[in-house]
């Protein structure tokens, strides 16, 4: 019988239960961070339970981590959460990459980087951006705290199989547009909840040509379309990325052979299909307070259709008919599990090379992991950022969610490579404009957004 990639992986993981009802699914990799794990470990202790498979569990610290001086945790509550993870990892024998460790970083950057993220796995984490790992052809999704406890105790999770949606992406990406613009374009076109109840697979000629980093950016923001799972079929690009990494399978040929059976047989196997052509794609910028409120950089901001729009405009301090070039920026943020990988930093650095930030713009560049940070220092990318006037930081979630000292002040506009422009997300009263790393870097130089597809830039 003809099946989707999602269906094939799902079937391999069902322990019990029928389709349509909740099924018990085995979890191959459980990623843990400091914010959504204290209560689950406490639950295990109070019920005298152990972690069933510490060997399939990996913990790191990211949300609370100060990125300016990583060991100087001033916030007592942050300190408590981080200390609690150290204590729990020790007590339950879970490998932990703590602050300062070579393997520490944003959990969704570190999993792939270590080679833990592999095709055909079921991967969960108490964080909605777990969808990132689907770029490898894995079923990866965020779970709540009770589910974290359940996975720790049983290495399984109860789930009702979602429907599947194929998003076919076609056309050649115009110069200086990126995966970030594709996913933002899709969400701008179809809305922030079209993916609810679906597992999304991105496919088509455009996706096949994307790097693993770019595929991760796409899958990462599936959740911003309402889908907790985004995925891409594993191929040679996937295998080449994994080969040689610390946790890559030792019998790599056998693994590759196994992984190669996971693909969607026919487009008609999807419950739903959408198409998106990128031939005329422009860089995208958000103007409002959810990721669907986005516009191509050369277009005017839309008219007010309803209360949601009116409230968003009021919060963000803009009005219809302005253009993204009219948004004066106070901050730029390059980082987050969406866009903090080496490739993202390289693209941003190329845009900044030989230039300096506009006056009054503060820039934070936050690599996704210690390994990325070290590599960028070695290759000179870090120096390009510093010469441009940016603050070059330690790895962590930073201003993406501002649970740490990196907060955008009230009323300030920030061009951000992160994933959510929600009210207050980057600091109380902060005004977020999401865009690609290249767009954010160029905006930092100009002091406002610019169309980087014009002759001046390409």
């Amino acid at each position: 019988m003809s099946k989707t990639l999602f269906d094939k992986i799902w079937e391999k993981h069902v322990i019990t239960g029928e389709i349509g009802e909740a099924q018990l699914i085995y979890v191959d990799l459980h990623l843990v961070h400091e914010v959504t794990s204290p209560q689950p470990f406490d639950g295990l202790r109070s019920t005298n339970r152990r972690v069933r498979r510490p060997d399939l569990t990996f913990a790191t610290m990211d949300h609370n981590v100060p990125t300016k001086d990583i060991f100087n945790v001033q916030d007592q509550m942050s300190r408590l959460q981080m200390d609690t993870l150290v204590k729990n990892s020790k007590e339950f024998d879970i490998p932990l990459a703590s602050i300062g460790d070579d393997k520490q970083g944003i959990v969704h950057v570190v999993g792939p980087e270590r080679g833990l993220t592999q095709p055909a796995k079921v991967i969960v984490c108490g964080d909605s951006h777990t969808a990132t790992h689907g770029a490898f052809g894995a079923i990866a999704f965020g779970i709540g705290t009770s589910e974290v406890e359940h996975v720790l105790a049983t290495q399984t999770i109860w789930q009702v199989k979602p429907k599947t949606m194929g998003i076919k992406v076609t056309g050649e990406l115009p110069k200086n547009t990126y995966a970030k613009d594709i996913i933002m374009g899709i969400i701008a076109k179809y809305g922030v909840s079209f993916g609810v109840g679906y597992a999304i697979e991105f496919y088509g000629e455009t996706i096949e040509k994307l790097s693993m980093e770019a595929r991760m950016t796409m899958c990462n923001m599936s959740i911003e379309a309402g889908s907790k799972t985004g995925m891409v079929q594993p191929d040679q690009t996937t295998f080449d990325y994994i080969e040689g990494r610390e946790q890559a399978p030792k019998d790599f040929e056998a693994a590759k052979k196994y992984w190669s059976q996971f693909y969607t047989d026919n487009e008609s196997d999807f419950d739903e299909t959408l198409t998106f052509d990128v031939s005329n794609l422009k860089p995208m910028v958000t103007w409002g307070t959810n990721p669907g409120m986005a516009t191509p950089v050369d277009q005017s901001l839309p008219e007010i259709k309803d209360d949601n729009d009116a409230n968003a405009y009021e919060y963000i301090g803009l009005h219809p008919n302005m253009k993204p070039v009219d948004i004066n920026l106070d901050y730029i943020f390059i980082g987050s599990c969406t866009n903090s990988r080496y490739e993202d930093l390289e693209i941003a650095a190329n845009m900044m090379k030989g230039h300096h930030l506009a006056p009054n713009v503060t820039a934070w560049v936050v690599p996704g992991s210690r390994a990325i940070r070290n590599r960028a220092i070695k290759t000179g990318i870090a120096k390009i950022f510093e010469d441009a006037g940016c603050e070059w930081r330690e790895p962590g979630c930073s201003a993406c969610l501002a649970m740490n000292p990196d907060k955008i002040p009230a009323g300030k506009h920030v061009a951000s490579t992160s994933n959510r422009n929600f009210i207050g997300r980057q600091g109380a009263g902060s005004r977020t404009h999401l865009a690609s790393p290249a767009m954010v870097a160029a905006a930092g130089i100009a002091g406002h957004f610019v169309d980087i597809t014009t002759d001046e830039f390409v």
Partner: protein
Amino acid sequence: MEAFVRETGRAVVIPNDNINTDIILPKQFLKNILKTGFGKDLFFDWRYNADGSLNEAFELNKPAHQGASILITGNDFGSGSSREHAVWALTDYGFRAVIGGGFSDIFYMNSTKNGLLPIVLPEENRKILRDVQADENIQIDLPEQTVTYKNYTFHFDINSQWKEKFINGEDDIDNTMKYEKLIAAFEKQRPNFG
């Protein structure tokens, strides 16, 4: 978890669409290592003014709505971050059910773990429910899968397993432990490439 069978209670209407978990419980409250005490911070940025005083215009703060146990809201409730703390804030405040046009998948699952009943009703039904006055009750009957207000009774759908879990107040882990033999057998045949 606390069982949910029937609930008769006051309702409060916050009709906005796309209320994400950052709005329900902002991230500064995720630093607690306990599951309790989040109710006072529910809808923090809407509920309190910048100086920390109560925003008296916000529905939840109106004296007539104190003690409400049913929240009536818009489409796409609970989107964004997976934080279960959002559900804990709603239950700690005293909500037992949320009636909306749709819920994010992760929020929905989190609700089923905490006895907070998420009810999906179409706009035509919610339009009627939005007229509920502060001194009027709404009845929810989970075994019958109905919401009743005045002379109106609306039917809602729910997966039969989640329904049973709500009614019995089951602990998931105990339930899963019953399948220990199957889990162990599954583990033996998992592919392993070293």
